[in-house]
Symmetry: C2
Subunit: 222 residues, 2 copies
Amino acid sequence: MTTQLGVDQSIGQRLLDAAIDHFGQKGLEGASTRAIAAAAGTTMSSITYHYGGKEGLYLAAVRHIASRIGERLDPVLPASRDLTAQDSGPEAASREVLSIVDHFLEIILRPESEAWARLIVREQMGPTVAFDALYGGVMGRAIEPLSALLVRIGEGRWDDTEARLKALAIMGQALVFRVGRATLLRAAGWTDVDAEGSAAIRRVVLTQTSAVLTDRGEGVPR
Amino acid sequence: MTTQLGVDQSIGQRLLDAAIDHFGQKGLEGASTRAIAAAAGTTMSSITYHYGGKEGLYLAAVRHIASRIGERLDPVLPASRDLTAQDSGPEAASREVLSIVDHFLEIILRPESEAWARLIVREQMGPTVAFDALYGGVMGRAIEPLSALLVRIGEGRWDDTEARLKALAIMGQALVFRVGRATLLRAAGWTDVDAEGSAAIRRVVLTQTSAVLTDRGEGVPR
DNA sequence: GTCTATACTACGATAGAC
DNA sequence: GTCTATCGTAGTATAGAC
């Protein structure tokens, strides 16, 4: 961080924005510091000054993303006290799960999420020092409360690990529409995901999530 | 391809294996031709000779992966004739969907899939010339029959696009356990996915898929 | 604080020896 | 066919001017 916390685009801030863009599109190795600096209207050496180098800038970019998503996600996540103290029934818990998934979808489907989605997925498959910030700020923040809600919904049918796996699978239903965007477009015959497309995706994911929550498990194979 | 199709590791073959490994771990830009050549026990210039350059080697690696997965997937996919001609009921179609998902999971969860999973996901988020080979060989090959089966299962409730979105969401439930591996390990508190873990994942995904298929949509929110 | 100039390393491509 | 040698480019880092 610079000592100057100017509201209007400081050089450090412009570098960060450009970094998210470039790292997201070309990855850590693919992006060039000169190109990032040029996009921010400055030169490469200011990256060294502000962030200590390419890796430092990358870490800062991931942390920035994590906190931004965290901000968006927080208002809809039940605080931890609600999960332990309050003992509302599985129906209320189900509604809460659907609300979380819905907001998660809303965040995921907006066009701006494309840049940072790439960063997150890359981090998933080859975790660097930045992964901790990402898990704590995004993935874990959603999975923990979801798992707790699922345990309540399951009413003893699912243990803690099983609930976490279920939470991940539910998130996967939503995430595939961002991570597998190229396949989505090809499979649906779309050129982009417009408002109508988003609504259709939202309908499908919420319907399937609802089905998963109300299922009593009679249809299990073998 | 070399003129010599030696069963035992030709240089072209060794280059291909090394390429899948390196490109998978560091991406197209991140991997270096010298390192790949060294791993294959040869020098950089043989890449030019055999594949015309770095891009050619990358394309060959992706195509190789696509055909290998296609081989594994093909036996369990219903041939297209079965989907149009035969008119078995939704129950048979449901069993077929579960079988496809199960085999898909089996492929996805095996440790060897880690290397090429990275390649595929990178291609998803920044499609290059190799994407066509990948969609035709892997993603499309699974989604098309799945969608057709879902249309039959839905019995008029879902149109073609909706069925494709549902197919993608179902695949997403499985894919998240490969793509989000780092989050999975962290959330479940595992150090790796052992046989027991795989079984638990398989149980969860198949149960949820089954729930989605049998759902009649009464629980839809709003 | 920010930029210019420069040092050094590694990349991919290619020409030519064997 | 495979390797060595070399070229041009682009990467990060750093010292120093302003």
